[in-house]
Symmetry: C2
Subunit: 415 residues, 2 copies
């Protein structure tokens, strides 16, 4: 009976906060709610027709292979395509440096499994991506966190944190989830130099890099690192493991992402992935290859940029229009999120309850800080997603949210 | 550089043998090789046309939802369909007892993550499924193994092994991988009574249960267990976690399987799955539901049974025709595999090299025993898959294999 099972659970730290977003996702399925909560891409720009054609082509031409077991590393033509696309950003990699994963979440899980021993400290941005904390918590990670501002991780505060000897750094340099901020070029150079000085490797998570709505592309850490290291096994990948995904450029429902790393790191990760799920869906890899090929991916990313830029602008304008002067927010140059800061002492969990009463949802800021990390002020923050709702919904949603915010600020002052 | 990464790997027991099958799979991609190695379903019976129609229907009618993020538990209509299908085998479960996983391998990984603390002993059949050993090894499992004969696990030898206090038992009652044997009804009852007596839960892995080619269906352990326990949370699931999959009935390339367990166990596994890969491909779940519905799955399973029965018979006949008298093999009543036993002292690794020179492949028996378990005689066994090759190929492949076997036996006698 269940009690028997319960007595047998290993004591994994499961990360209590996991339920916050999960419960939220359930509430936000009600049609009357405008949700800025999930990190959902806009379903209205999914290339449904192209997927339909791709499925038909794959099943007509490669049905038996696409429905069969595949290799753990991934579908070779897809790995080659990803390697070619990486080259445009200056990332020199072959297919042998690319491991296909079942979403970036699996990449984080495999990296946690490979690198984290119970009690190891991981350096993260504060705030940082909730899913990474969940993945690393399972392996007993502890955290050292370093704050971000509009230019990303405060590298001037890194020195002392690195002296504490973290196992690795986990960084989202572009349009960070949740804060929407981007690590400046100067700080990227500093980060690489510090990583090298202290011998601390970096996990560079880049799900949104292609979704830039203004400003110039900044070289990823994996490229800046390369300029710092010698050729290694014929490839110039070094201190940085780089992650990206099709979830934000094609569709998240196909669960396709990839890890770029030196070959010997890939070979360890392949062993762990084989034990974790054998391989990622063969069929989805064939289909994604057919969807993306012949320039479609680039063309589609242009469309997404245009749609999301408009939504970001709608949210920034609505915030300006409705929100009180004592509340501030970030101005993301890309990605899916912005980060709102309320006066000290605000309780964003209470605000969420008030917001839900107004039929609008967001994720409270404290979800994005490790429970066992340094002290933080997550309670005064909220993460707003602008990619999922259409501009008029965004306008109305921010109006509703402002009602809850003003009420909360009034209560706060009165208290 | 890579050396930096290497110095940071956690000391996970990765299970050296993982490479045996992986390397084999690479060799067997050569067209001149007849492979009895992989556990591959027959690609010629994949319902390609039905998949094509299902993809088109899903994308036309539910495109935006099917390509979007989904819930960790899985697509509700699919979970309900699985619960309904379970009822036919007497397994009383609702959708809330069903968690969709990315193949059964992920089910094994999540169960290992939830239940195994480093050093815990797991009771397994000898031989047992290689993938389970790989999944459990990552979490530092030790093993107690109990031999099987044609009637499955030797339950009369269980008592002393259970007194050693294993964390759980992992059992494949139907057409076991690799031995092809089936646990008799009498032994199933004994197993349940012993599990209850010692309070040791059971993981029942049943990927092949529907692929029976002769004899009568035997009630799964989860059903026999139910007769032993009181109603628990409104459901009668108790001491057994039950696993099954679409990999052998629809197609493995879509990576869809499920765990059936009490609700509180499911809720723990959901948390771990969320951290591991968020959720299984939404698109594949919609497509599998469309493929399977309206009785198609049952009808298709009938076709598979017919095709595989013919292939099993072809292999049994060819073994009879070509193999020397001192070699024996199991007579599986279903599934994908049979198990060959050679005279004591035979070296199945050397035999594999000889077989590959004859352009035929199999998996050497020692891959299916835990490295750190009790002593075993895996070296004199080989696993043969009969589902993947057509009858004439099976005939020719067994002829080739018999050449290698006879040579090996001659050397063995001469030595």
């Amino acid at each position: 009976m269940s009690t028997l099972w319960k007595s047998r659970y290993a004591q994994r730290t499961l990360g209590i906060k996991s339920s916050a977003i999960r419960e939220l996702l359930k509430v936000t399925q009600k049609p009357e709610i405008i949700s800025f909560g999930g990190g959902l891409p806009a379903p209205d720009v999914f290339p449904v027709q192209r997927f339909d054609e791709a499925c038909h082509k794959v099943l007509s031409e490669h049905g038996p292979q696409a429905l069969q077991y595949g290799t753990t590393e991934g579908y070779q033509p897809l790995r080659e395509m990803i390697a070619r696309n990486l080259a445009r950003y200056g990332i020199v990699a072959s297919a042998d440096n690319v491991l296909i994963t079942s979403g970036s979440q699996q990449a984080l899980d495999l990296i946690g499994k490979l690198l984290i021993n119970r009690g190891d400290r991981i350096l993260v941005e504060a705030p940082t991506y909730l899913g990474a904390l969940q993945a690393f918590n399972v392996y007993g990670a502890q955290y050292v966190s370093v704050p971000v501002d509009e230019d990303g991780l405060l590298t001037e505060q890194l020195d002392s944190s690195l002296r504490a000897g973290p196992k690795f750094m986990y960084v989202l340099p572009n349009f960070q989830n949740p804060a929407g901020v981007t690590l400046s070029e100067g700080r990227r150079h500093q980060l690489i130099l510090l990583a090298d000085k202290y011998g601390i490797p970096i996990i560079e998570d880049d799900p949104y890099g292609q979704l830039r709505y203004e400003g110039e592309h900044i070289a990823p850490l994996v490229v800046l690192d390369r300029e710092n290291v010698r050729r290694d096994n014929g490839f110039t990948l070094g201190n940085v493991i780089y992650l990206s995904t099709f979830s934000k450029t094609l569709a998240p429902g196909i669960r396709l992402a990839w890890i770029v790393a030196p070959e010997d790191v890939i070979s360890k990760l392949v062993q762990l992935k084989q034990a974790a799920d054998l391989h990622t869906s063969t069929f989805n890899q064939y289909v994604a290859f057919e969807v993306a090929r012949d320039g479609f991916l680039d063309q589609h990313v242009k469309l997404i940029r245009q749609v999301y830029r408009e939504r970001r602008d709608a949210m920034l304008h609505a915030l300006q229009e409705f929100f009180p002067a004592e509340v501030t927010w970030t101005h993301p140059k890309g990605g899916l999120f912005l980060w709102v800061t309320m006066p000290e002492g605000t309780d964003s969990q209470a605000l969420l309850r008030a917001a839900l009463a107004e039929n609008v949802a967001f994720v409270p800021g404290d979800s994005f800080y490790p429970a066992n990390g340094n002290g933080h002020d997550g309670g005064r923050h909220m993460r707003l997603n602008f990619s999922h709702s259409q501009p008029d919904q965004i306008h109305e949603g921010i109006r509703r949210l402002s009602v809850a915010v003003k009420m909360q600020l009034r209560n706060h002052v009165l208290r």
